[in-house]
Amino acid sequence: MARKNKILDIEDIHTYYGESYVIQGLSLYVEEHEAVSILGRNGVGKTTTLRSVMGLTPPREGKIHIDGTQTTRWPAHKVSRMGVAYVPAERHIFPGLSVEENLLLAARPGRGKDAWDLEKVYRQFPILSDRRKQDGSTLSGGEQQMLAIGRALVSNPKIIILDEPSQGRSPLMVEMVTDVVRDFCVASGITLLVVEQNYRMALNVATRHYLMGTKGRIEGIATTSELREDPQIIQNHLAV
């Protein structure tokens, strides 16, 4: 079965907010150990795609498989337990909970020597270790992004889905977040689906890219090298 090594497989989904028809037929997949991006302008439906996967805004039609299991319209907690870690663009660090408590809530035992636990998060993100007792919502935007990614990692997921990690970040911060995603998610073999408007970030972390147009339509699929060779593709795609 070809689906076997697809960690995420979205087949022709249609998603609505009430009457508003936002995703009009979207298909994409992410294979095991692959890092894939969805590139698209503001408002095309990138976030809605991720919300469809998580079951937060379930698609009305179409199918979603996670690691071979049909999870279409499952509630978010069941999707999460399938091994999907969602990092929303707002990061959603729990206010009133310390950095450590934010991590503890997400932690799930992993297998193998590469498994993540709190200690490993603290080792890799010393800034979080320094602030472990501090209210998570008092961290700077960049630190909160680290915490949000750390929270995804400690759940030892099969796939991390990351919504616009560069949104609202300074160039320096974008570089830092890029390094974190590349070193800890991609290099360690965690499957990744990242949504971006910032193509530099996307090209630096992912190897395959879906170019999303309005209403979630996929207008093209390209590899990083193809996009680097012909920058015009991205220019045209992201131009308003």
Binding site: L56, S80, H92, P95, G96, L97, S155
Partner: protein
């Protein structure tokens, strides 16, 4: 000398009353903060706690055993209510549960009248609790001191539970960004059930400890519902710390007002609420700080 002991009496009475308000209001606040349900039957659950306590004690059960059992019974009632009345309305607007719990209030009150009648009841306290203890130059009833102690233990237990356990952590997180909590693998259904049962148990505890302080009658829950509303509105909807401040404040104001001008006690409490809301429309500590 008489003036000083009166002042100490009033202070202790304020704390006792404030403590009862606090336990009821915190329960109401936990339910609201975690599931956005304004439980209008909360006062009736409080009354149910008092009546269950009365019945348990009058069958000859030790008061302290009743103190543990009555809240559990109210907790079971809360579980049934959550499953049958609240849960089916979860996806709808807050107005639905508002109306349904309003109806439930009359249902429980009717049940209470049917079971226990209209005449007031009194919980028979163990002899030692009916005595007074010389304290700070006054003689204060042992039962009231016990009430203070129980309030402190309940609040300390609740705070430890919320701050130290993983379940408590989940509840605090759920009061802020529930959607993200589900994304971490938590079934919010159990958070909602847990909140309603916990809130009901707290109402039950307040009911049985308040029973001997006041008379137990079918309308005792109504006054308490209003008072605990005042507490959570003044303290800030969903704010636990705000509730502590507000409960002590209202306890003190009501005790003082009753001492000096009995008839106007509640009027003064409402005036205070109006003044505080005019200055801070979202309550002393604002909305939703669940810590």
């Amino acid at each position: 000398m008489g003036g000083v002991s009166t002042a100490i009496d009033i202070t202790l009475n304020s704390l006792v009353l404030g403590g009862v308000f606090l336990i009821v209001a915190i329960g109401l606040n936990i339910i609201y903060g975690l599931s956005r349900v304004m439980n209008l039957a909360h006062g009736s659950l409080y009354a149910l706690g008092a009546y269950s306590g009365y019945t348990l004690v009058s069958t000859g059960l030790n008061f302290f055993v009743a103190l543990l059992l009555a809240p559990l019974l109210v907790g079971v009632a809360g579980l049934l209510i959550e499953r049958t009345v609240i849960a089916p309305m979860r996806s709808r607007s807050i107005v639905y549960t508002l109306i349904l719990t309003y109806g439930l209030m009359f249902f429980i009150d009717g049940l209470i009248k049917y079971t226990w009648g209209n005449e007031p009841r009194f919980i028979d306290l163990p002899a030692f609790m009916r005595e007074t203890l010389p304290i700070l130059g006054t003689h204060y009833p042992v039962f009231r001191l016990m009430t203070l102690l129980i309030t402190a233990v309940v609040m300390a237990g609740l705070m430890l539970f919320l701050s130290r356990t993983k379940t408590g952590m989940t509840l605090r997180a759920s009061s802020t960004i529930p959607e993200m909590v589900s994304c971490l693998g938590v079934n919010m259904k159990y958070v909602h059930i847990g909140a309603f049962v916990l809130g009901s148990v707290l109402a039950g505890i307040a009911g049985i400890i308040a029973g001997p302080l006041t008379t137990i009658d079918p309308i005792m829950g109504h006054e308490m519902l209003i008072s605990s509303f005042v507490v959570i509105v003044i303290g800030g909807l969903g704010s636990l710390r705000g509730a502590v401040i507000a409960a002590l404040l209202i306890g003190a104001v009501q005790t003082l007002a009753e001492f000096f001008i009995t008839d106007l006690a509640m009027v003064i409490v409402y005036m205070l609420m109006a003044i505080i809301l005019a200055i801070k429309p979202r309550g002393i500590l604002g909305e939703g700080k669940f810590e």
